[in-house]
């Protein structure tokens, strides 16, 4: 084919368009980066931070806080005593493993809450905030943690007369100072660790939990407390048999003098048997000085002897005690029923696990289902992770019917439980669980299908190709005739050219806006630099 001038021009156009596209792709980003280099840096660092925070809870593992549901049996051919005993031993064994923190049973948690009797709703809310703050702190979300912990501290301080466990406030102050410190709120961190030092001047701050800078501030304040010496706090009140607490420690009945009050801010609470109370945050000056308080107790108290909410601390059968009474919340009962059924889908049970985890503050929930397996008992543990709802099966453990291998078996099961929890491997993740009983002579088979296994099964059950050899290959449908090579070439270059032109225009318009439509002033430094030499 003869080359016409148009043809030559078009070939040239193809080349120019492609070259333009390349140049624009190289140049336009630079013009944008001149305006927004700092933005992209901060975005990158934000992305880094987000990435870091999103992987924090999963890869590097703060100590898992695990709730262990009661071990149960599937079917009627195992005595209740067996899972009960195995469950108790598992709780004890797993509870002693430093790699995770085992929470009390749900029943006990609820009993502890109810034992507090006159604990106000405010304190209960403060506890929630406190637990939530700790969780966020362990997950590395320091800013949010500080908000929760600060809320908890403020709620508690406003209701310190109702607080049964003063250590909650003290611990909240320490953790809040750490959250502030890690979030970069220096001044607030100092304030809180100073408060903590006044209340616990002899504490040892764990270097794993508290940065060196914070520990140094604590030591300095503790030294100040020590050097300032003690004061005498005198409490005089008209209320009869009023008990005096200082920082949660009972000191006696008023009128009294507390002669060893250390320097700093402390919490003085006075309560009488009728439930009236007075609480104040006091400043103790040290240097052998005396301060006198004459509180007037307030509030309508009730006779605690008649308090029907007074608890009994006794339990039946240890922590594996039955939790089937009607006082348990519905979600919990439903959860138990579904997993004890021996067959459930992960999607069905996740909402119940989530609510349970929210209620208890657990980051992991584990349970063990047991069934009879020919001449042995089989324990099939599972664990649920609250952060993403993943459910993972743990390696089964068999026990002989005489349970002579009970101790070894529980030890192995506990190890498997902890190690699998720390790892939460993909290959053990489950979407549905079916723990079936053997029918007649068939051996029992536990099948826990995972997405990987499902796909392999589906592959394995995919239909075989036809054996009908008589089938002749059909001729492929008619296709349009292949264009001549040169025309095809031309078409390709056409598309390249058009695409390049679009890229060129788009990139230049954007670059033009960035250069000429936006702020013409040179980029401003975000701050100044200090060079210190000594």
């Amino acid at each position: 084919m003869a080359r016409t001038s148009t043809h030559r021009c078009w070939h040239g156009g193809y080349a120019w368009s492609a070259a333009l596209a390349v140049i624009v792709c190289l140049v336009a980003p630079h013009s944008l980066s001149a305006q927004s280099s700092s933005e992209s840096e901060s975005e990158a660092s934000n992305a880094e931070q987000e990435e870091t925070s999103s992987t924090d809870g999963q890869d590097e593992g703060p100590t898992p806080e695990m709730a262990l549901l009661p071990t149960h049996s599937i079917g009627d051919d195992i005595s209740d005593l067996v899972p009960e005993r195995i469950g108790e031993m598992l709780r004890k064994r797993a509870g002693s493993d430093d790699r995770l923190k085992l929470l009390s049973s749900f029943r006990n948690m609820r009993q502890e809450e109810s034992q507090e009797g006159s604990v106000s709703q405010t304190i209960a809310k403060a506890r929630e905030q406190y637990k939530s703050g700790i969780g966020l702190l362990n997950a590395g979300k320091f800013e949010k943690s500080s908000e929760k912990l600060k809320s908890a501290v403020e709620l508690i301080k406003g209701n310190v007369a109702d607080l049964r466990e003063f250590d909650v406030l003290v611990d909240a102050l320490a953790k809040l100072s750490r959250a502030y410190f890690e979030a970069g709120y220096d001044f607030d961190a100092r304030k809180r660790i100073t408060e903590y030092a006044h209340l616990r001047p002899n504490a040892e701050l764990n270097p794993d939990d508290f940065p060196e800078g914070l520990r140094k501030i604590y030591k300095r304040e503790a030294r100040k407390v020590d050097q300032a010496g003690t004061s005498t706090i005198a409490v005089e009140t008209d209320a009869e048999q009023a008990t005096v607490w200082l920082d949660g420690e009972e000191k006696g009945t008023a009128p009294l003098k507390i002669s060893d009050a250390t320097y700093g801010y402390h919490y003085l609470v006075v309560k009488d048997p009728r439930g009236r109370s007075w609480a104040k945050r006091i400043q103790v000056p040290g240097r052998d000085r005396t301060r006198t308080f004459q509180p007037t107790l307030e509030g309508e108290g009730t006779d605690t002897a008649d308090d029907s909410r007074a608890s009994s601390a006794s339990e039946d059968g240890g922590q594996q005690a039955s939790e089937d009474d009607d006082s348990m919340p519905a979600f919990y009962t439903e959860l138990r029923q579904r997993i004890e059924d021996g067959s459930f889908s992960a999607d069905d049970v996740r909402p119940y696990f989530k609510e349970f985890a929210d209620e208890t503050g657990a980051t992991y929930v584990a349970w063990v289902s047991m069934f009879r397996n020919d001449g042995s008992y089989t324990a099939a543990p599972f664990v649920y992770r609250a952060s993403d709802g993943r459910i993972v099966r743990i390696e089964r453990t068999d026990f002989n019917v005489q349970l002579s291998d009970l101790r070894v078996g529980v030890s192995t099961m506990s190890t498997n439980l902890v190690e699998t929890t720390l790892e939460m491997p993909d290959k053990r993740a489950v979407q549905s669980v079916t723990l079936v009983e053997p029918e007649q002579d068939e051996k029992p088979e536990a099948v826990a299908s995972s997405s990987a296994e499902t796909s392999s099964e589906s592959e394995s059950v995919s239909s075989a190709p036809s054996d009908d050899t008589s089938t002749e290959p059909t001729s492929p449908p008619a296709s349009p005739p292949e264009p001549a090579p040169k025309r095809q070439n031309r078409r390709v270059w056409t598309y390249v050219g058009i695409g390049g032109a679009v890229l060129a225009v788009g990139g230049l318009v954007a670059g033009g806006f960035a250069l000429f439509g936006g702020d013409q002033s040179p980029s401003r430094p975000p701050g100044f630099t200090a060079n210190v030499s000594w």
């Binding site: 230049l508 033009g512 980029s523 100044f528 200090a530 060079n531 030499s533 000594w534």
Partner: protein, 587 residues
């Protein structure tokens, strides 16, 4: 396909080429980013008394016992009505690192860099700070030299000097700073006044040298051999004292027209000061002056000293020559109220007149007579507003005795009314005075001399607290200092409410120095609202009749005064720091 023949395609392609050319051109013309300002901080130290002779150290790794250097950028609390101090940025470095770089620090105003040195037990061994500064995107690069000294101790003020026999710029040392001046002149002085400037520097005016061995009785007029007309400025950013009266301008130096010692200086604007009265030496005699002079540092060198002329073109002057008076600036009316003092008639000529220097109308008027003539009293502003102004005049001495009485000067348009205030429990003069931030507002009167007959003036340990709105002195609010002292200085620390008491003269003769500092620790829930902590630092060079100025780098600067020296007690030329360790975030 003949796409190129289509006009839209051609238009798009040529537009792209044009835009690309314009874009590339624009890129070429784009402005460079503004570089971030850089502030350089050079630290050096003065070592503590730890058995070895204290000294300056250039390298902080040589500072005894120091392990870490803590760097803080803060926005300190600046007054009782304003903000609380905050730490903006912090960095802790190993001392062996020899330096640190802190990039991208937030811009701001009234910032301060503080440094403290810590030992292995994380105890602060020494500290120091820059003056307040502002930083913004337009700031030029700055340099600071910061001296770190032991907390709650007195030290010499250090600056970097290059010895004259060294040629290399690196052959420099840190040396104590003294007043500046011609080599032949004796630089020690007494009776001078140090006034803080808003930018952290200090203006030192006048002063003189004593004739005879010492200042004599506290109530006697000092005999001066020389009275200076000099102006000197101390800059804590580099530690240097500059004599602006000898800045290569021998033909037209910035020098006061009259010598002034035991005078008063009031600041009327950021760079403008009014000097009133004081002692001058003329015709071989030491006598008070009526002179009123203006020092305006905003003007060009050579034109920074002037007078205020009245309508007739005559320089304003006090109606009566005086020294040991007080001068108080009332911003609402632009008036300076001059109260009492010692007149030209000798030690017994104690003045009762109240004069007003009116900068608006350019006149000086005598507006009232105190009920009791007094000198070496204290004056506290009760009210300064367009509706009216009032001053509380406290204590002082008459020709016969120390005074416990107080009077209120109520200024009205054109005149003033004098009312009687409550009396202190202790008559006193030449005492320290400081406002305390309680409600109702109050004032602490600390120490002072109680006698005219007693050889040493009988200084007292007693301090009292007066309620300003009521002009009373409630019972049970007094406390006793550790040391009796007259002529001391008191400063309320800005990051806490404690008061530091420095200097003064004790019981006995001229050599009754009181080198120990004391603290009044604030506890406003109690009465009295302070508790005394004695012996918080000892002057390394004991002195009294020194100036004491609270700088915005946190240090208290002492200049000159009558003190101990290797040649015996004399008017000193040296400057000294007291480091109260008033660190943001440490309270």
């Amino acid at each position: 396909m003949q796409l190129w023949r289509h006009a839209p395609i051609r238009i798009v392609l040529w537009s792209s080429i044009v835009c690309l050319a314009a874009g590339l051109g624009g890129l070429g013309c784009s402005s460079d980013p503004i570089p971030a300002p850089t502030f350089e901080f050079e630290l050096f130290g003065w070592t503590p008394h730890d058995g070895n002779n204290p000294r300056f150290v250039r390298k902080l790794r040589d500072y005894p016992g120091v392990e870490t250097v803590n760097i803080q950028m803060t926005r300190p609390r600046i007054d009782d009505s304003g903000r609380r101090g905050s730490v903006r940025s912090q960095s802790m470095q190993d001392v062996t690192a020899d330096g640190a770089r802190l990039p991208e620090l937030s811009f701001g105003s009234d910032l301060r860099f503080g440094f403290d040195l810590r030992n292995a037990d994380d105890e602060i061994v020494a500290s120091g700070a820059t003056p307040l500064f502002d930083s913004n995107v337009q700031s030029s690069n700055k340099q600071f030299r910061v001296m770190l000294s032991p907390v709650r101790e007195f030290t010499p003020v250090g600056a970097r000097f290059r010895p004259e026999d060294k040629s290399s710029s690196r052959d420099w040392t840190y040396q104590p700073v003294a007043f500046d001046g011609p080599v032949e002149a004796d630089l020690g002085r007494i009776g001078h006044v140090a006034t803080p400037l808003g930018d952290g520097r200090v203006l030192v005016t006048g002063g003189g040298q004593l004739a005879g061995s010492g200042p004599g009785h506290p109530s006697n007029t000092p005999k001066m051999s020389r009275v200076f007309r000099e102006l000197q400025i101390f800059n804590p950013e580099d530690g240097y004292v500059t004599n602006i009266s000898f800045e290569n301008r021998q033909d037209n130096p910035d020098r006061l027209l009259t010598g002034h010692a035991y005078h008063d200086v009031v600041q009327v604007s950021e760079q403008r000061f009014i000097v009133t009265g004081g002692l001058n030496r003329q015709d071989g005699e030491t006598e008070p002056t009526r002179a009123i002079e203006v020092v305006d540092l905003s003007r060009d060198p050579g034109n920074r000293v002037d007078v205020v002329n009245d309508e007739a073109g005559q320089p304003l002057a006090l109606s009566k020559a005086r020294f040991h008076h007080t001068a108080t600036y009332l911003e609402s009316t632009r008036q300076i109220v001059v109260v009492g003092g010692v007149g030209a008639g000798g030690d017994g000529d104690i003045l009762s007149s109240v004069e007003v220097i009116d900068l608006e109308s350019r006149e000086v008027r005598t507006v009232a007579q105190l009920e009791t003539a007094r000198a070496e009293h204290a004056t506290v502003t009760i009210q300064d507003s367009s509706e009216g102004s009032a001053l509380w005049v406290i204590g002082g001495r008459s020709a016969e005795s120390a005074l416990s009485s107080t009077e209120v000067v109520q200024l009205q348009s054109g005149g003033a009314q004098i009312n009687t205030g409550g009396s202190m429990s202790q008559a006193r003069y030449d005492m320290a005075i400081e406002r305390i931030p309680v409600r109702p507002s109050s004032v602490a009167v600390i120490g002072g001399f109680t006698s005219i007959e007693d050889e040493g003036g009988a200084p007292t340990r007693l301090s009292e607290f007066g309620v300003i709105p009521e002009r009373t002195w409630p019972d049970g609010s007094a406390l006793q200092l550790e040391h009796a002292r007259g002529g001391a200085h008191a400063f309320k620390l800005t990051q806490s409410d404690h008061i530091v008491v420095i200097g003064g003269r004790g019981p006995g003769g001229e050599r009754a120095f009181v080198p120990e500092a004391e603290w009044l620790l604030a506890n406003f829930e109690e009465s009295p609202p302070f508790e005394v902590q004695g012996n918080v630092g000892t002057m390394y060079q004991a002195r009294y009749q020194t100036t004491a100025t609270h700088l915005n780098n946190g240090m208290i600067l002492l200049t000159g005064g009558y003190g101990r020296s290797p040649d015996g007690p004399q008017a000193l030329e040296t400057l000294s720091y007291y480091n109260p360790g008033d660190i943001v975030g440490q309270q």
